[in-house]
Amino acid sequence: MARTDFGPPHYTQMLPPVIQRNYGKWKYHERLKPGLLKHVAESGDELYTVRAGSERLLSTDRVREICDIADKYCEGYVRFTSRHNIEFLVSDGSKVEQLIAELRNKGYPVGGTGHSITNIVHTQGWAHCHTPATDASGLVKALMDELYDYFMSWKLPAYCRISLACCLNMCGAVHCSDVAILGIHRKPPKPNHEIIRTKCEIPNVIAACPTGAIRPDPKEKSLIINEKRCMYCGNCYTMCPGLPLADAEGDGVSIWVGGKVSSARTPPAFSRLVIPYLPNNPPRWPETVAAVKNIIETWARHAHKHERMGEWIERIGWDRFFLLTGIPFTEQLIDDFTFATETFRTTPAFKW
């Protein structure tokens, strides 16, 4: 019997010597240029961090290539960030420029620190999940090709975090990003009575529906969907494979903006819906890419320094946001779910 429940490797085995020596004793850091941080410890030791973008979906060959680079410049240590970037930690400052040059040569973009766009947190999409309404890796690749400059430079007023989740499960937890891209379905599930009868626990499926759109069908020993009440969350499909809702015309992408998780200046906030639907158009999703770019560039033109997307919008007002971006306002943007009335305006003071 194999050993079980031994837990992850202890992190201390994985820390470069300079970190082991200075753990918890860092004094300050400087942002030398996009993609390059310098940390200085109380002891005077210096640590350079070179941050590079990655495609997240990595072949073992690519991981080995990353290891080769880390062996050459970083004494055999490397780390990843919560946003799928790779960080090369260099204790010998004289190697930094060589490392950056080698990364560029091998096609790794160096950037993603400071007032830039950093890598897009994303999920599995058509490559590996069963509930997606859009792809993830492909849409992210198309976006980052277009936003590449903003990864490599400090042209933006503040941080900009983009996230993408390919269905409402939001594995990628996109609901608190400056720009969130969320795959959505727009058609109710199509019951397959045979599968429902044989594979699904009917009371659990009924209970899973947040809008009460599902009731039993005693005649078929199956389920009926009240299509008017369904808002295509896919929760029932997760409970029961007999209720698929993916559909080439129905599925696509929605855009949410203005969220954040840090407490700097203003509290964390949810992203808000601004574009309810854009079509899936692989391989490059031109509508989505253009929409995201428009939003980011409008913000970049108008925001004050340090003003995150949501802080800017709250300052100028959402009425003004729609005017400046030229995004049409539609009925879907007005909430009608559980906490809807909290978002209605309760003053006649607003902007034209």
């Binding site: 194999a2 992190y11 994985m14 850091h29 495609e55 991981v63 919560s82 490559a127 690749k141 090709d145």
Partner: protein, 394 residues
Amino acid sequence: MPDSETPLLDELEKGPWPSFVRDMREAAQKKPAAKDLMRQLELSYKEKVGHWKHGGIVGVKGYGGGVIGRYSDRPDLFPNVEMFHTLRVNQPSGWFYTTKALRALCDVWDKHGSGLTNFHGATGDIILLGTTTEHLQLCFDDLAEIGFDLGGSGSCLRTPSACVGPARCEYACIDTLDICHDLTVAYQEQLHRPMFPYKFKIKVAGCPNDCVASIARSDLSVIGTWKGNIQIDEDEVGKYWESGFDIQGEVVDLCPTKCMEWDAHSRTLKINDRECNRCMHCINQMPKALRPGEQRGATILVGGKAPIVQGALLSWVVVPFMKMEPPYGELKDLVNKIFDWWDENAKMRERLGELINRLGMGQFLRATGLRPVPQMIIRPRANPYYFWSAEEVK
């Protein structure tokens, strides 16, 4: 040369950003499964729908979670991905690796799987994408050999994760890596054997910048903070000023509580720390001159989650300040009480935040023995529908 089988995906090999298609193609040269994965993905690009069947339970001996079953719905076209299961592998705290460990992982995965990975999945695990049922146990055994265990999946504690913390960030008020590792090891049973009403996530951030998005993504968020005065290094403040940095405009004016004052003549920066809400803005802008106060600990928040089922929630403050010293007894006491209360009261697939919303924060506080304090709320209630217990009315 025959025409490419994947003309749509090929488009995504162009452009400056690193391409996952290149990685797939490299893996496809060695592994038939990776090749069929590409072909199936191409079909999805053509038809605009996915081609994975719903779920399917597979696993390794002794565990109920850590593996996600995956089957193609077109095994007739893509026989090599008929089974293409995912292993979630528990990452070391902070996502640090030796290249030795990474190479060992690659060797195991080349032996048993598709040669494709995610560094990392959205919960933080190392994701190994695509193997067959027969290889699951063998792969797990080999992973155990090189010191890697599975993470969580299903209705259980999910793999906890932490920001880089004291390993490299001078802002860290708590030892995020150690707390994350300690909790992960302490709760192996809850991690590997689904037994909860639904998933439960713990994330640890070293300061209110919250670089792991704990407030949005975890049922229990541990966020480092401090009490007392922000430490000011006068000399360094002066140097920022000399370098042309706009202390008034970029720091003082943006302080949300307006508790800072800058006098350019005498070059003094004053903070009325009683009014500071520890948002981190000034420290973020002047990391050489300002540091968090000396008395460190964490704010504990609960209830964060994504929209499924009832809507998204951000975590709520329940303990404004908790000291964080190993073995973290006070935190574990609280976690145990939360697990018990949630387990006993939640409906199936009801997250902690939804349960608190349904039964009321009062019940949560009584169950955990936490004291009500003003820090828990933004403002008090505006409706008159509240409870008294019989004892209180006597």
